[in-house]
Amino acid sequence: MIADSLVQQTFLAAAAVFVLLAVVMFYRAVVGPTLQDRVLAVNVIGTNTVVVLALLSVGLETPALIDVALIYALLNFLMAIAISKFAVDRGGVL
C-alpha cells in the first residue's frame, strides 16, 4: 500500500512539469509570427492549465478544482473559436 502523501506529491510534481511546459510555450505566443500561431499557443497553454487544475485537485486534496477545470476548458474552447471566427474577413470559419 502507498501512503496518500506520496500520491499527492506525485501529482504535484507532474503539475510542476506541466506548468514548466506551459511557460516554455509562451515563446510561441510572444514571437508569433502570425495571429493564428499566437492563438494556437494560447490554446495549448489553456489546455495545460486545465490539466494542471485537474492534477492539483488530487495533489492539494481540493476536489472542487475539477469544476474549475471544466469551466476553464469551456472558456478555452470558446476563446479559440471566437478569435479564429472574427479574425477572418467574412467570418467563414464554422
Binding site: 506525485t10 512539469v17 510561441r28 514571437v31 509570427p33 493564428q36 494556437l40 490554446n43 485537474a54 471566427k85
Partner: protein, 111 residues
C-alpha cells in the same frame, strides 16, 4: 491509501502525459508553419492531456468527482482538435501558404 498496482498505473499515466505534452511543446516551438503546429497541438497535446486527466480519474477512485474527471477527458478529446481545426482554417482563409520543402533549407517562417 492506494494499492501498489493502482499507484503504478497512475505513475505510468502521468509519465505518458508528461511525455506527450513535452513532444507537443517541442513540436509547436520547432515546426516551420502554423499548419504543422496546429497538427501537433491538436493530436499530441490532446493525448497528453487525456493521459493526465485519466490519471486524475484513477486516483479519485469510485466517486462522483471521478465521473466529472472522465467528462473533462471526453470534453478535451472533442474540443481540442476542433479548436485547432478552426485555427488552421482561419489561417487558410487569411491566405497563409503552407510551408513546403523548397521554401528554404532551415524552414519557412520559423523565428
Amino acid at each position: 491509501m492506494t494499492g501498489t498496482l493502482v499507484f503504478a498505473v497512475i505513475v505510468g499515466a502521468l509519465l505518458l502525459g508528461v511525455f506527450f505534452t513535452l513532444v507537443s511543446t517541442v513540436g509547436v516551438l520547432r515546426l516551420p508553419d502554423v499548419y504543422t503546429r496546429a497538427h501537433t497541438a491538436s493530436q499530441v497535446d490532446t493525448l497528453g492531456a487525456g493521459f493526465a486527466v485519466a490519471a486524475v480519474a484513477i486516483a479519485l477512485g469510485l466517486q462522483a468527482k471521478s465521473i466529472q474527471a472522465l467528462l473533462l477527458l471526453v470534453f478535451i478529446f472533442v474540443t481540442n482538435p476542433t479548436a485547432a481545426h478552426a485555427i488552421a482554417r482561419a489561417a487558410h482563409e487569411n491566405d497563409l501558404t503552407p510551408w513546403t520543402e523548397g521554401d528554404d533549407a532551415t524552414g519557412g517562417d520559423r523565428s
